[in-house]
C-alpha cells in the first residue's frame, strides 16, 4: 500500500498505481481536470506513464463557477 496526499487528505492505495488508474479509482475518468504531482503539472498525455509513489502529494482541480 502507498499513502497519497490528495487535495490535502491522505489516503491509502494499492500499488502499483498509475495516475490514470488513480483518476479512475476516484471516479473521475473522462472528467476534465488538471493534476499537479509534488508541485509539477502532469500533462494529460503523461498520466498513463506516471507511477505514483508512497508520500506523493497531488492536487486535482476542475473549473467551477466564479467571477
Amino acid at each position: 500500500m502507498i499513502q497519497l496526499s490528495i487535495n490535502g487528505n491522505t489516503q491509502a492505495f494499492a500499488a502499483p498505481l498509475s495516475l490514470t488508474h488513480l483518476v479512475e479509482q476516484l471516479g473521475f475518468a473522462g472528467k476534465r481536470l488538471a493534476v499537479e504531482l509534488n508541485g509539477e503539472i502532469v500533462p494529460r498525455s503523461q498520466h498513463a506513464d506516471t507511477q505514483l509513489a508512497d508520500g506523493d502529494t497531488l492536487e486535482i482541480v476542475v473549473a467551477v463557477g466564479g467571477g
Partner: protein
Amino acid sequence: MTTDSFQIAGKTYSSRLLVGTGKYKDFDETRRAIDASGAEIVTVAIRRVNIGQTAGEPSLLDYLPPSQFTYLPNTAGCYSADDAVRTLRLARELLDGHKLVKLEVLGDSTTLYPNVLETLKAAEILVKDGFDVMVYTSDDPIIAKELENIGCCAVMPLASLIGSGMGILNPWNLRLIIENAKVPVLVDAGVGTASDAAIGMELGCAGVLMNTAIAGAKDPVRMARAMKLAVEAGREAFLAGRMPRKLYSADPSSPVTGMIASK
C-alpha cells in the same frame, strides 16, 4: 451603421459584456442568465475537485460547453503572484492549452482590493510564459499603464469593490486610464445595476465584466438582459458622442421665433 466589434488577444468579439459564472442557484440558472446576457466570454474559477463526489454529478462545463463560450479562467482567491501563476498553469492544462486568462491577485480578504505589487509580478511571469493576460487592477492610471507595458492584452480596473454593487466610484480615473491605454480597458467589479454598466461604456470602456450584479439580482435572467441592453446603450452613446454640458445656460429645444403675439 458599421458593426461594432472589439478584439482581445487577436480574437474578435461582438458582445462587450463579459460575465462570471459564480453565485447562481444552479447550473440551469447560470446557463439561462448567460444566454440572456449575450456574453461570449465567461469567467470560471479553478478549484480542488471534491473527492468522493459521485461520478455522474454534472459540472459547469456540461452546461457551458467550452466549444460555445470563450473561457476566462481566473485566479480569484489568490493572494500571491506564485499562487496566481500556479493556478493559471493548471487552468491551461485543464483547458487544453488555453491561453486567455484573468489575473487577479488580492490584497486582503475584507476588501478584496487588488495587491498591485503581486499583480505586476505575476503579469510579468505569465506574459513571458505565453499567456494572454486580462488583468484586474485598481483604478490607478500609472499601474494600469505599467500592466499594459508588461504586455497584458487588456487592463481591467475596478469600478468599486468586488461584489459591492457600489457602481463607478471614480469615473475620472477610469477616463485617465482609457485615454492613455492602447489595449482594451474593461470595467471589472463593482457594477450594481444597469446604469453603472452604461456609465462605464459611456466613459469609453471597451467592455464590462460582472458577476454578482447579475447573479445577486432577484431575477438574474432579467438582470442579465438589462445588462446586455445597458452595455449596448452605453456603447452607442459613447460612439454617438454626447452633447456638451452647459452649466450656466439653458437652450430651448423649440424654435424661439414664430411665437403668437402676446396681448
